[in-house]
Symmetry: C2
Subunit: 121 residues, 2 copies
């Protein structure tokens, strides 16, 4: 997972946009972050919130998010393993972004498919 969309972030001011985008792209990052805004969650709690995610993918995304400093992984040395994921301060800093994304998605809830050939505005 390189997630290096732009090795050269010299696209002028606009690259800040891409820089931010780098972190939340990845098929499940956005939703994961979103759900974590509500509070700490365990592996399988997240998993249940994301229908269709495979454990591999979830681990994957979680690890990337952790590596990027957005969330903290807390392992409890208990018998049924227990791992809690929670946002870090950096993770919370994404809140406005996630909020904007969600607001847009809700407003333009055209979850309906978009015909690729001819889209009317």
């Amino acid at each position: 997972m390189s997630r290096v969309r732009h090795d050269r972030l010299d696209c002028s001011p606009g690259c800040a946009v891409e820089a931010a985008l780098q972190f939340i792209d990845g098929k499940w990052k956005g939703v994961i972050l979103y759900h974590l805004l509500d509070g700490t969650l365990r592996f399988n709690e997240i998993r249940r919130r994301l229908p269709g995610v495979t454990p591999r993918m979830l681990t994957n995304q979680l690890r990337e998010l952790e590596a990027d400093g957005f969330l903290a992984r807390k392992v409890f040395a208990e018998v049924p393993p227990k791992v809690e994921y929670s946002l870090t301060g950096r993770g919370r800093s994404l809140e406005p972004v996630i909020a904007a994304l969600k607001a847009w998605g809700d407003a333009h809830a055209d979850f309906a498919p978009k015909p690729y050939a001819d889209a009317a505005a």
Copy 2:
């Protein structure tokens, strides 16, 4: 380019986030949208603003954005071809999102760190 990250958008409220993300993922979409917020641009103007983009990629991203109804393509039947790209209303509706993204990118301008494994720089 399917851009169908989630065929089932049933990840509860969080899917709105993903729904929005679908449209701006793609390596150059974010920046393109960003630059277009400043006003109408021609093909090569955009191209010059995105160092490293190949014409093929640019066309590609532009077409997707157009298909998604975010921008309008206006062709002038002139001799040196001239095509103008501008945001539609729907495109402008993304402004808060782009703004949030840019704000985050600017604030957390850690364009550098990310010791993922051993990021070669």
